[in-house]
Amino acid sequence: MNQADISKIVSKLRIKVPPEHRRLRGPQGPEGRLNKLRKTVTGLIKYERIELNYRRGDEARQYAERLISEAISHGDCHKPTMEIADYWLLEKQLVHKLFKVLVPRYENYNTAFTKMYKAPQTYYGRNIDKAVLELRGNPYPSLTNKQSNNRLLLQNVLLDAAKYDYRQAKYAEMADKMSKTEELQTKLDNNPESKPSESS
């Protein structure tokens, strides 16, 4: 059965998008949910790092990623994309920011455009999971403490040395192959030269 290639029609986001959205119950119902998410996405684009409840942050993240990926793939001359941006971004200066700042920033990214962290829990009270949602590449101090990229850690030293070894072996192999082919070539060149001399 030939399945049409829909990968170009709908952008595949680099975050997990569940099949059903959260309802985010409120007095205004589904419309209120969308309004709230609009405000959240506007805030995210504007401030580039916001603190909010985990559930709303997760939903807003999906919409923000979709917005940015649409902007990247279609650009600002595309009318439907402009309408989407107009709907989602309540402050119109941010539409400029989206197309002129964020698109060039995220054009060549292989990863998602946003990052969400779980904030520390508040004890002695009603605990609602809080999160920090931010756009990657923001100018603020980083929230990750990840040290695993440190090239001096033991595992990284060992792996780098193994990689170097492997590459050296490969280069040697390739050099060997090249020299062998050259030898063969020279042999072949020599043979036809000798033949006419013999015949003559």
Partner: protein, 197 residues
Amino acid sequence: MIPRLTYVINILKNLERNIIQSFGYPPKELALAYAHQKQVPRQSTKFTLKDLVGDGILLAVPKFRRTVEKRWKRKFGSPDYVWKMLVPKTNIAICNECGHHHERGRLCGNCYKRIETETKEIQAKIEEKLGNNKPIENDVIVLYDGEKLPDETKEFWQGKRIVEMKKERPQWFSKNLLQKTTQQPSDSKDVKPTDLA
């Protein structure tokens, strides 16, 4: 409507009866017909225990013995629903940077507090300096006291929004962040993503 009518009629009747009783009855000789009303002496209304208990008080009472399983279920709960026992938290890790405890998978509270205050300051500065009315067309670069812009062509810096914080760079905010914005200008083709997790 009708209940109201009967209500009014009842009131009138009561009124009539009260008036006649208060003013006394007319003499018997004048009456057309009268009924003998036996003055039944009212019994003394003493309330004894027998009246209370009498045949017995009807109270709710357990019909069957509560099984030990049910007792346990009430006391301890169930892991499928609500577990009523205290469960030790085994997901507490120690932050490498500051040595404080935090839940694994979440941000370290101590580190986050410090970064949060700094972020809010920068955000406030951006709002204050760059305003909210003009269309935003460039990235923001944050510079601290005594810092110069990295070496780049003047065209690169034109239009870039620079925010100067009037304080020293905190030790934990590394300068390398600037490298992201000091990427080569757009005419070079091999721009690599710098933010791989």
